[in-house]
Symmetry: C2
Subunit: 387 residues, 2 copies
C-alpha cells in the first residue's frame, strides 16, 4: 500500500509538505533516507537511527541478493526482521549497481548478464527477477528495474540518441516490472523511474509514458552519476514539478545539504545519498554553519562539540560529564580519527545523519509555518558563516 | 582517595565480595574492567558501557602519552572529561607497553629509553615521569611503573636470577613511584605491582617489600605474558590470597571467563583483559554456554540470538521487531561479519563485554548469597553445554 497526502504547498516554490503512509508506517515528507546497503546503515545501530528521527531507510537489492542471499532473507520473512528495523524500507532495483560493474556486464532487451563480484558466478538480472527479489525483501517501496543512463563513458558524453535508446529501454522495463509486481501480488508500492539523461525533452517523454502507467510514486534517476553540478541542477529544476502533484517524488542519490534544500524547492519529496555516512567515515562533518574536516590539526585541543546547536548524541551527549560544553569535543573526535578508533566514525556518522534528518525536519516545519523562503535565506547565511 | 570495604568472604575459597570507593565513584568487587587503550573502549559508546554495567574502565598511559598527548589531556583537566566517562578509570604505568617494544627500548636503573612508535622521537620513561603522566590523566587508580618480567625472550626462559634482578628493580621503582606520587599530591590511589616471574619465593619477596610500603592496593603483574596456562594458574593460586586481606587485589591482563571465576576463588578482586573486545572484533563470542565463532557458515540462517539468556542490546534488542526471538540474530551477525560491516563488531563487542560484566555480577550475587561453590559448579556445567 501507499497513500500520499499533500498537507501544504509553498506559494513561492514547488516545495510541498506531505505524509506518505506505507505498510510499515507513516513518513513525513520531505524526507532524507539513510542508505543501508547491506541491511545496515554503516556504523549505526538501528536504535540510534530511531533516536535521530530516521523514518525510512534504504536497502540495496543487488548487494542483499549477493549477501546474505535470498534464502536467508526469505527465512526471516523479509528485510525488516533480518536487520531489526520495523519502519519503512525502500529498496533500489539493482540496476544502478549492475550498471556500475562496467565492463563486467552485458545489457540486452531481456536484462543484464554479469559475473558476481562476490564469487564470479554468472548471473542474470531482469525486471522480473528484480521484482521477485524485492518481493522477498518485502520493502515498502520497490523501485522499477531500469538502465541508469550514464553521463559519460570513458570520456564520451552520452549522445541524445544513446540517451533515447536507454530511456526507452527503461520504459519498456517499467512495464514489465509493473506486470510482474502485480503477478507476484506484492502488497507494497512500486515506483517508476524517469530517465532521459541530460535532455529535457527525453525526460518529458519518459515522464509522460510512466505517468500513463499510473505508478503510485515516481523517481528521477540518472542524476548524480558524474555530471557537472550545473547539469544536475538543470535537471532538478526541470523534472520534479512536472510529475503528478498527488504522488510522491524521489530524487535518487542526491546530495549535499544545499542540494536537498534546492531539491525541496523544486518539488522533491524524498532523497537518499551515501554522502552523510561516507563523509563521516572520511572525517568530513556537515554542520549548520558549514562543513568541517575533523582531521585538521586545528581541532587538536578544541573543547567545542561539532555544532553547538546540534542535539545529536555526539554533540549533546548524555553522560552529564561535560555539561554546557556538549557531549564529545572536536578534540576527542580528532583524536579518535587520528588513532583509527571505531568510535570516531560511529559518532561522526550519528552526527552527519542527524544533521541531514534535522535539516529535513526544519524544512518541514518551515513549510508548515509558511516560512520556507525565509528558511532558505537563513540556511544559506548559516552555512556560509563557517564553523 | 581509596576505601576498600570487605563485605563478605567465601568460607570454601579465597573469594571476597567488596566495595571500592574511588574519587569518581564506587566499584562493586569482584569486577572486570573493560580496556580503553586510547581513551575509548574499542567500538563501544560510553553510554553502552554504562548500560552494560561497566563500573570502571582502563586507559593506557603509554598510548595516551603518545596520542592525544599530555597538553590535550591537561586542557581537559584529565581523561574523564576528554573521553566523556565520569566513572572511575584505572591507568597502567606504561611499563608493559614500553617493554612490548622489545629491541626498540633500553632499560636502565633510571628508566627506559625508547623511540616513539608514532613519530620516532627519542623518549625516556621513568617512575617519576609515569607518575606525572598519570597525575595529568587524573585516573582514579594509578599503577606503579614496573618492569614486566618476561616469561621467555626469543625462546630463552627467564632464569631465577634474571627474574630476581627484574623484580628487585620493580621494587626500587615502586619506592620512587610512591615518593613522586606523594610529591605531586596526586589525590587518587597508587597500586604496587607484585613481580617475580614464575618463582613463588620471588613473588613472596616482592609482596613483602611492597606490603611494607603500604600501598592502598596491590596488583599481580607478569602473568598472561606468554607462559603456559598451568604456570599462570600456579601463580594465580599462589599470590593473591597472600596479599593484605583489607586491600583490593588486581590480577593484570587476565583472562578467559574460566580464569575470572578461578581468579575470584583465589582471592582476586579486579581483572582487566582485551579478550572480550578483541575477540569480538575477530568474531569469537563468549556466552554462558560456551564460545561461538560467528564466522562459521552454520550460523547463516540461524534466527537465535547469540545467547537466549543474555540481556545485552545485541541479544535482547530494544526495537520490539523480533519479540521472543531476541534482538539481532546469529544469521544477521554472521552476515555483518561476512560483509565487513562495522555494526558487526559494534554488536559483538557489546555482547562480549556484557557477558564478562554479567558474569562478575553473578559471582557477586553468589558471594552475597553464600552460594559461590554451587555457582562455580553450575558455571562449569553451563560453559561445557555448548551453544
Amino acid at each position: 500500500m501507499l497513500q500520499f497526502d499533500l498537507l501544504n504547498t509553498d506559494p513561492d516554490s514547488h516545495a510541498r509538505r506531505g505524509t506518505l503512509t506505507l505498510n510499515h508506517g507513516v513518513v513525513q515528507t520531505p524526507i532524507f533516507m539513510p542508505v543501508g546497503t547491506y541491511g545496515t546503515v554503516k556504523g549505526v545501530m538501528p536504535r540510534s537511527l530511531e533516536e535521530m528521527g530516521a523514518q525510512i531507510i534504504l536497502g540495496n537489492t543487488f548487494h542483499l541478493w549477493m549477501r546474505p542471499g535470498l534464502d536467508v532473507v526469505r527465512h526471516f520473512g523479509g528485510l525488516h526482521r533480518f536487520e531489526v528495523w520495523n519502519k519503512p524500507i525502500l529498496t533500489d532495483s539493482g540496476g544502478f549497481q549492475v550498471w556500475s560493474l562496467g565492463a563486467m556486464r552485458k545489457i540486452s532487451e531481456e536484462g543484464v548478464k554479469f559475473a558476481s563480484p562476490v564469487n564470479g558466478d554468472k548471473l542474470f538480472l531482469t525486471p522480473e527477477i528484480s521484482m521477485e527479489i524485492q518481493t522477498i525483501l518485502n520493502s515498502d517501496i520497490v523501485m522499477q528495474f531500469d538502465e541508469c543512463t550514464p553521463y559519460d563513458t570513458k570520456g564520451h558524453i552520452t549522445t541524445e540518441a544513446e540517451a533515447r535508446t536507454s530511456m526507452e529501454l527503461s520504459v519498456r522495463w517499467a512495464r514489465r516490472c509493473q506486470a510482474e509486481f502485480a503477478r507476484l501480488q506484492n502488497p507494497n508500492a512500486l515506483f517508476g523511474i524517469v530517465q532521459g539523461g541530460m535532455f529535457e525533452h527525453l525526460r518529458e517523454e519518459s515522464l509522460a509514458q510512466l505517468v500513463e502507467m499510473d505508478f503510485p510514486g515516481y523517481a528521477i534517476g540518472g542524476v548524480s552519476v558524474g555530471e557537472p553540478k550545473p547539469e544536475m541542477l538543470r535537471i532538478m529544476a526541470h523534472t520534479p514539478h512536472r510529475l503528478p502533484a498527488h504522488k510522491p517524488r524521489y530524487l535518487m542519490g542526491v546530495g549535499t545539504p544545499e542540494d536537498l534544500v534546492e531539491g525541496v524547492a523544486q518539488g522533491v519529496d524524498m532523497f537518499d545519498c551515501v554522502m552523510p555516512t561516507r563523509n563521516a567515515r572520511n572525517g568530513t562533518i556537515f554542520t549548520r554553519y558549514g562543513d568541517l574536516k575533523i582531521r585538521n590539526a586545528k581541532h587538536r585541543s578544541d573543547e567545542r562539540p561539532l555544532d553547538e546547536t546540534c542535539t545529536c548524541h555526539a554533540c549533546a551527549g548524555t553522560s552529564g560529564v561535560a555539561k554546557g560544553a556538549g557531549g564529545f569535543s572536536r578534540a576527542y573526535l580528532h583524536h579518535l580519527d587520528r588513532c583509527g578508533e571505531m568510535l570516531g566514525p560511529m559518532l561522526t556518522t550519528i552526527h552527519n545523519l542527524h544533521y541531514y534528518l534535522s535539516l529535513m525536519a526544519e524544512i518541514r516545519a518551515a513549510l508548515e509555518a509558511g516560512t520556507f523562503t525565509e528558511f532558505r535565506a537563513q540556511f544559506a547565511r548559516d552555512r556560509a558563516r563557517g564553523v
